[in-house]
Amino acid sequence: MILSASGLVKTFPGVRALDGASLSLAAGSVHALLGENGAGKSTLVKILTGVYRPDGGTIELDGKPVHFTGPLDALRAGIGVVHQERNLVTEFSVAENIVLHHLPRRFGVVRRSRVRDEARRCLDLLDLDLDPDAPVSTLSVAQAQLVEIAKALSVDNRVLLLDEPTASLTGDEADRLYAIVRKLTGSGHAVVLVSHKLEEVFAVADTVTVLRDGRSVAEGQPLSAYTRDEVVDLMVGRAHAAVSLAARTPLSSDAAALSLTDVATSYGHADVSFDVAPGEIYGLYGLVGAGRTELAKALLGLGSVTAGTVSVHGTPVRISGVGEALRRHRIGYVTENRKEEGLFLEQPITRNIGVTVWHRLTRLGLIRDRAEASLVDDYRQRLGIRLATPKQLAGQLSGGNQQKVSLAKWLAADCGILIVDEPTVGIDVRTKAAFHELIAGLAGQGMAILLISSDLPEIVTLADRIGVMAGFRLRGELPNDGDYERMSQSIIRLIHTPLIPAAPH
């Protein structure tokens, strides 16, 4: 065993995140660390990398007990990590971030050209076409995630911990990462993989530890000993009922709720046309950098529409911001970037969810705390948000539970049109199914939903039609027949067909 931990305990105010968790890691293997949202996976990763100190338990590296005094200490011991939450310095460039912990220096002066070369090498590993000099603040969430991975790969660590590394990536990018992971384990490295994407886990992992409520319920067994359902049962703690979505008949309606005609934007989109009917779920798929999030932002007035028309219920509109979208057009937008745009990390959960609906909860101009509390409780139950108290700060929730809070405020907002951008990033299997059911239910009640997702199975499960985007253009549109294999092949084909220049009119 390269690295092993046993009996780890970690308590936060109000929560016991780890309650005797153990994990052992053999050289040359990929070890999956699974569990529901809030089970303690990230806490375990942070303890193994010196971010937190455990309240109890032992960690052994090569059979010798170790006590990390901080993240750098663990790094020096040869343990690399990609944390679930982004940790890049947004003011620094991509290159500087990648080599942050081992900046090439001579006489104390950073050597720029070496920094760039080194960064290039790491980016190339991932086949990543990014400008090393671009500031990280200009990257999309997925690009930032890839840079974070490149950063972890920049040092040759014996142990690599990956906490949901592919959460906002599409299959293509994930495949590239896993190819590298296999190469690493082939040369004797050990990798821990935390992920809610069980398909990926079963494809790459050799052994598995399942955490439930901070305890290890399966420890180090070969993954092949389990089926997918058995793993989920272990995570949940009992046999789980498979949820199947009820068939939905899209409301037939002439007037589209949201329609785009030949839209061009300040981000560089051109000729984008599609529409979403009330009761319909329109899926927008594309690889990282395809311009899906930017399109949503342009529609909402966070960027601008420079040509073409956007109509809401048949009326051409020009929206100037999310506030106007919400109050005038009843359009909601769930951002993909929960940490910076979706949540107020230093505010209580109640306010994070109440913020879109306060106008509905007032009496004599004052907000009724009771009404807010019952709203929060309602969504806590529906989405299974695991919290210590509703007054807890949102930033103290586990990643998946933060995502649920960021979703809840828009589900509560009572919109007619909902744009959801990567809604289930980091959400566990069971909640994901519940969320899918919830979204399908909303569509069933007549809501028009624009689903932006990098999760192809999710799109195929939910969408009625699928628009495929690449290079800021819509490459085509497919009716969804629900057959995953066939759909994914057609979609990949669409993405990779070269653009035929539009005939001049």
Binding site: A241, R327, R351, I367, G384
Partner: protein
Amino acid sequence: MTALLETPPEAPAARARSLPLWANPRLGLLVLLVVLVVLFTALRPSFLDVDFTLVPMQADISVYVVVGLAQLAVLSLGHMNMAVGRMAAMSAFAMGLAYQELGTPLVVDVLIGLAVGAGLGALAGLVISRTGVNSFVVTLALDFALVGLVSLLYAKATDGVSFGAQPGGMAALRTDTFADYCAGNVCGPPVPLIVPIAVVAALLVGLLFRWSRTGREILMTGASVKAAELSGIPVGRRVVQAHALSGLLSGLAGFLLAVNNGAFSAGIGDAFLLPSFLAPVLGGTLLVGGAVSVLGTFLGATITQVIYKGLNLLQFQVDQLKLYIGLVLIVALSLDRVRHVLAERRGARA
């Protein structure tokens, strides 16, 4: 409503506990206040003299509570208002001028002055939200411009220092306490008439930030502008409103000081800037925005005034006074920090 998950994961509510009572920063301030009062009384029994100390001290506290609230209004956003003093001066000038030129009653004069204060604040807010320039820079520049304007205006409209005649009722506000008003032989407490003004202002500001949508949205904007914008909060409008409120409260503080001084004069607001930060920050309001404490501001202002009066009675020189107030504040702030860290640690062990 149905729960879609068959059984929602149980929140470990039984294990959840909030921080211990002694970790509440407001309680710490209250204890500090009591200790100071006992200390000063022991050293100088005249500290509890009603006419000599208590009544004037209440009047001063009223002014500085409102001054603190004026700063708190923009600290909520993570902004600063470096022009509280000059906004107060401009408001006071408008009040004096309104009476001198229009002869309107006190209430009308005050409303006019408050409107001027709010207008100046709104102007600052508008510039900040439109240009995106840092609030510190914008209000500092505004302050600079207003310094000149105030002395110009006073030179034009008055003898250069203060207005000669004051509206009827100002004198009574200054000299009377509720003890002067009796029904039969039951008289009120020895509380100056301006105290309720400050108390009502504090209650309203508290209400605004705690329970009104506008106030909460201002706080959320302070917590994260980006997230606020993406949650549909009209960020620009909230910035303007918070600064307008700051200007209005500056004006009110200017009025209260004019009452205490007995005249609308050019020097009003000169000493407002430092206390405006001291009271809220001592009371636990964050400089980064997103959280305010009105009660803390009240306690902060009170403690500052108690220290000031106490050291004054002990015949400290003005410079020494400042030195000691500074020291006491540093100690108080670090104690607060220590207590917080201790509480977190203890909470984490539980």
